[in-house]
C-alpha cells in the first residue's frame, strides 16, 4: 500500500498547509488594517460629517480636494495657518524635544554598558531601573505628573514656594512651554530605557575583536566610538530612528491625559496631530472626511521623515562599491 502510494505521488506537497497557517494573519490584516486604510483614503476625498442641528449624517459624497483645502489653507487664506498644521507643529516640536536627548543618552548608556574596559557593576539593576517607566502605563504616569505639577498646591509647587525659591506657585500645566516640556520629558523618561536596550543589543552584535584591534592600534575611546561603533550600529540606529519618528508623530496618550480639558491646554499648544484627528472625527460634527484627510497628511509627513532618515543613514560605502562594480562591468562590456 505504502509503496504504490509512493509511486503515484512524485512529491509530497506540504507547502499548501502552510497557507492555512499564515491565513489568520492575512485575514485579520485585511479586515482590520488594509480595508480601514483603503476606506480612510476614500473618505479623505468625501464630504462626511454629522450635522449637529438635527443629528443627521451628511455624505459620504465625493467632494474632491475640499477637505485638503481646509487643512492647508486657513479661512483667512493663509497657507499652513490652520489647526491641523499647528497640531502637526506641536507634535514635531514635542517629538524633537524628547527624541534628541533620548537618543543621545541611550547611546551613551549603551556604549558604557557594553564597554569591555569599563565593566560597570550592577548593570542588570540599572537596566531594570531605566526600563521601569516603560512598563507603567502612560495613563498612570500622566496622572502622576498631573498631580506632581498641580496648581496651586501640588508637591512641586509646595517645595518651590516653601523653600523660598519662588514667591508664588507656578501654573506648570497652564503655560505653553512648561506643558510642552513636561510632555517631552515624560516621553523621554519613558522611552530612553527602551532605546538603550535596543542599542545595547546592537553594540553587542558588533564583533569584540574589532574593538580590541582598534584598542591595540592605540585608538582612544572617542575614536573607537566614532569610527567603529557608530558605523557598525547603523542598521540598528536606522531602526530606532524610524521607529521613534513613527511613534513620536503619533504621540497621543501623554498630552491627552496630562492636560485638564484633554484638548491640549493651554490654547491647543500641546494638541498633537492624533489628538486633533480624534477630536475631528468623534466630537463636534464628527467630521470623518476631514479627519481622514488629516490622517493622510500625517501619513505623508511620517513617510517624508522616514525617507529622510533612510537617506541620511544610507550606507555610503556600499553604494560607492556598487557603483564601482557597475562601472567596471560596463567598461568590460564596452571593451568587448
Amino acid at each position: 500500500m505504502a509503496k504504490s502510494n509512493g509511486k503515484k505521488r512524485k512529491t509530497v506537497e506540504y507547502g499548501r498547509y502552510g497557507y492555512f497557517f499564515i491565513a489568520p494573519f492575512f485575514i485579520v490584516f485585511a479586515i482590520f488594517q488594509l480595508w480601514p486604510l483603503i476606506y480612510t483614503m476614500g473618505l479623505a476625498f468625501c464630504e462626511n460629517y454629522t450635522d449637529t442641528m438635527f443629528n443627521m449624517e451628511v455624505g459620504p459624497t465625493f467632494n474632491g480636494l475640499e477637505n485638503f483645502g481646509t487643512i492647508f489653507v486657513s479661512n483667512k487664506g493663509t497657507l499652513f495657518d490652520t489647526y491641523t498644521f499647528r497640531a502637526l507643529g506641536n507634535t514635531i516640536i514635542m517629538w524633537m524635544m524628547n527624541f534628541l536627548p533620548q537618543i543621545l543618552l541611550a547611546l551613551l548608556l549603551a556604549v558604557w554598558f557594553t564597554d569591555t574596559r569599563v565593566k560597570l557593576k550592577a548593570q542588570g539593576a540599572y537596566k531594570i531601573l531605566t526600563f521601569m517607566p516603560n512598563i507603567i502605563t502612560a495613563a498612570t504616569i500622566s496622572v502622576l505628573f498631573y498631580k506632581l505639577f498641580d496648581y496651586p498646591n501640588g508637591p512641586l509647587n509646595q517645595i518651590l514656594v516653601n523653600s523660598g525659591i519662588w514667591s508664588e506657585p507656578f501654573r506648570f500645566l497652564d503655560t505653553k512651554w512648561s506643558t510642552r516640556g513636561i510632555v517631552s520629558f515624560i516621553n523621554f523618561w519613558m522611552w530612553y530605557g527602551n532605546t538603550m536596550i535596543v542599542l545595547t543589543a546592537g553594540v553587542l552584535g558588533i564583533s569584540p575583536s574589532l574593538f580590541e584591534a582598534a584598542r591595540v592600534d592605540g585608538a582612544s575611546s572617542w575614536q573607537i566610538f566614532k569610527s567603529v561603533t557608530l558605523p557598525l550600529l547603523r542598521p540598528i540606529m536606522l531602526f530606532t530612528l524610524v521607529n521613534s519618528a513613527i511613534g513620536g508623530l503619533q504621540m497621543y496618550d501623554i498630552p491627552k491625559l496630562l492636560t485638564t480639558s484633554g484638548y491640549g491646554d493651554p490654547d491647543y499648544t500641546t494638541r498633537t496631530i492624533t489628538m486633533y484627528i480624534r477630536e475631528l472625527a468623534f466630537t463636534g460634527s464628527r467630521q470623518m472626511g476631514k479627519a481622514s484627510a488629516a490622517s493622510l497628511v500625517l501619513f505623508v509627513v511620517t513617510l517624508f521623515f522616514s525617507l529622510i532618515l533612510f537617506y541620511i543613514m544610507r550606507d555610503k560605502d556600499a553604494i560607492r562599491e556598487k557603483k564601482t562594480i557597475k562601472a567596471a562591468q560596463k567598461a568590460r562590456k564596452e571593451a568587448k
Partner: protein, 475 residues
C-alpha cells in the same frame, strides 16, 4: 492518508476557532464599558461557544443563544444616579428588574461618543433602548430621528401637567414639536455661601442681605474684593474662575446657533470674559480647576466663600465635601443660599426612548413611574433630597416643612428653588452648547491670563467653532 485527514481537521478547527474568537473579541470590546457582571457574562458565553466549536459543529446554535440577550432592556447613562433612581421603579414593578441592563459609561466626557456609535447599530445586542441625556447636549438627540416621542411610550399630556415647563421645552423636538424626553428632576441654581463667613467678613446676617450684596456682577466683584481684603487674603469668593460659567450661559438671549444654522455670539459673553479676567487678574478666586481635588476640598475650609450651585450640587457636591455629616462637624450647617447675580439652571438628566427601542411599553412604565407619578416622586424627593420635576410633590414637601435643611442652618431649600424652577428660561439652548462652551472656555482662559486681547480671543473662538461645525455659518 490518516495524517492528511488529521491535519485537515486540525486546520479546520483552527480556522473555525479563529472565527469564533473574532466574534468573541468583538462582543467583549463593545461590552467592555458595561458593568462588570455583564462583561463577565459575555466572556463566559464566548468561552463556552469556543469549546463547543472545537468539540462539534453546534457553534451556530450557541451563537444564536447568546444573541437572544436582545430580550434585555438596555439603559445607558454616565454615572450611578439613574441607577439609584431606577430602584424606585423596581419597587412598583419588581418583575422588570431582571430585564434591565444598566450600563454606566462612567465618564460624561466620552458618553456622547459612546452613544453616537451605539446608535449607528440598531441590530447590535447592546443597542440602547433608553438613554439618559444631560441638558448640555440633549437637543442633539431630541432634534433627531434617533429618539421617539414619549407619546409612543404611552405618556399623555395629563402626565406632563406637574412638570416644570422648561423641562418640557428642552426635550421637545424643534422640528415637529413632539416631546422626546422626560426628566424627574429640576435643577435651578443659586449661590450657596458660607453664612458664618458672611457675618464675620461682611456683616451680612440673612440671605436677603447677601442677595443685595451680589445682585449684579458689579456688586459681585465688589463683594469679592471686600472678602479678599477683609479676610487678609485667607478667603476668596469662589474657588475657580470657571464657577461663574453656568450663570452666564443661562442668561444668553440667543442660542449659540440659530435654527437657520448661523452662529451668534451673545454680547453678554463679552461681559463674561471680562468678569473672568477681573477674577483672574485681581486674584479674586483660588484659581483652582472645577472638579479638581483642590476645588473639592474648598467647602471644608475657610478658603472659599461660596459656590454657584444647583439642586444636585447642593446635596451631592458641597455637602459630601464639607468635612462633616452633622451640624457642628466641618462646615456642615453653616451654609446659606441666595439667588445670586442672575437666575440660572445647571444640568439635569432626561430620559428618552430610542428609535429602535425593543419595548416601548417598558420604557413608558419607567418614564411614567419616575417622572410623572406624584406619589413616587414625593418619595424620591423626601428620601434622596432630589428636587423633583413635580410641582405638587415639591409643594407638599415644602408645606410639610421638609424643606428646612440642617445643612443650610435650617433654611428651606425648596422655598428658594421653587420660584427659580418656575421661571427658568431655556430659549438660549441649542444642540451645540457643550462643545461650543468648551471652545469658548479655552479662549476665555487665554484672555483672562492676559495672553490674548479680546479681539484675538473672539476671533480664535469663532475660528474654532467654524472648524468644529462645517455646517454652521460663522459671520
Amino acid at each position: 492518508m490518516k495524517k492528511k485527514l488529521l491535519s485537515a481537521l486540525l486546520s479546520t478547527a483552527m480556522v473555525a476557532s479563529l472565527l469564533v474568537g473574532c466574534g468573541g473579541s468583538d462582543n467583549n470590546a463593545s461590552d467592555s464599558t458595561a458593568d462588570n457582571s455583564a462583561a463577565t457574562d459575555s466572556s463566559t458565553t464566548d468561552d463556552s461557544a469556543a469549546t463547543d466549536t472545537a468539540a462539534d459543529d453546534t457553534a451556530t446554535d450557541t451563537a444564536s443563544d447568546s444573541a437572544e440577550g436582545g430580550d434585555k432592556f438596555y439603559i445607558y447613562s454616565w454615572n450611578t444616579e439613574v441607577q439609584e433612581r431606577l430602584a424606585y421603579v423596581y419597587e412598583v414593578y419588581p418583575e422588570i428588574e431582571s430585564r434591565i441592563e444598566y450600563v454606566n459609561v462612567g465618564d460624561s466626557a466620552v458618553y456622547q461618543e459612546k452613544i453616537d456609535q451605539l446608535l449607528q447599530n440598531p441590530d447590535a445586542e447592546d443597542y440602547p433602548d433608553m438613554i439618559a441625556f444631560e441638558a448640555a447636549y440633549i437637543m442633539k438627540y431630541t432634534n433627531s430621528d434617533f429618539t421617539i416621542p414619549v407619546t409612543d411610550c404611552g405618556i399623555t399630556d395629563a402626565d406632563l401637567a406637574e412638570m416644570y415647563p422648561y423641562t418640557i421645552t428642552i426635550a421637545t423636538d424643534q422640528r415637529d414639536g413632539s416631546l422626546k424626553g422626560v426628566s424627574w428632576q429640576s435643577c435651578p441654581g443659586s449661590f450657596i455661601y458660607r453664612a458664618d463667613l458672611a457675618e464675620s467678613l461682611l456683616g451680612v446676617k440673612s440671605p436677603e442681605e447677601m442677595q443685595a450684596k451680589i445682585g449684579s456682577w458689579d456688586d459681585f466683584l465688589a463683594t469679592a474684593r471686600e472678602i479678599k481684603e477683609k479676610s487678609g487674603d485667607a478667603t476668596r469668593i469662589l474657588s475657580s474662575n470657571g464657577d461663574v460659567v453656568n450663570t452666564f450661559m443661562s442668561n444668553k438671549t440667543d442660542p449659540w446657533v440659530s435654527s437657520d444654522g448661523v452662529f451668534h455670539m451673545d454680547p453678554s459673553m463679552e461681559e463674561y470674559m471680562d468678569v473672568v479676567k477681573t477674577l483672574e487678574q485681581e486674584d479674586l478666586t483660588q484659581k483652582t480647576t472645577q472638579w479638581s481635588d483642590e476645588w473639592n476640598a474648598g467647602p471644608s475650609t475657610d478658603a472659599v466663600f461660596g459656590y454657584f450651585g444647583c439642586t444636585w450640587f447642593l446635596h451631592w457636591t458641597i455637602k459630601p465635601n464639607c468635612g462633616g455629616e452633622a451640624v457642628g462637624e466641618g462646615t456642615y450647617g453653616s451654609w446659606n443660599m441666595c439667588e445670586g447675580p442672575a437666575p440660572y439652571y445647571w444640568g439635569g438628566t432626561w430620559f428618552g426612548a430610542t428609535a429602535g427601542c425593543s419595548d416601548t411599553e417598558l420604557a413608558g412604565k419607567i418614564m411614567k413611574t419616575l417622572c410623572c407619578d406624584t406619589e413616587v416622586m414625593t418619595k424620591v424627593s423626601e428620601e434622596t433630597l432630589d428636587y423633583v420635576n413635580n410641582k405638587t410633590a415639591m409643594k407638599t414637601l415644602s408645606d410639610a416643612g421638609k424643606g428646612a435643611y440642617d445643612f443650610l442652618g435650617g433654611q428651606d431649600f425648596i422655598a428658594v428653588f421653587s420660584p427659580l424652577a418656575e421661571n427658568v428660561d431655556v430659549s438660549w439652548m441649542s444642540a451645540y452648547d457643550q462643545k461650543v462652551n468648551e471652545l469658548l472656555d479655552t479662549q476665555v482662559t487665554a484672555y483672562a491670563k492676559g495672553e490674548k486681547d479680546k479681539e484675538t480671543a473672539i476671533a480664535d473662538f469663532k475660528t474654532a467653532v467654524a472648524e468644529a461645525y462645517p455646517a454652521v455659518t460663522v459671520e
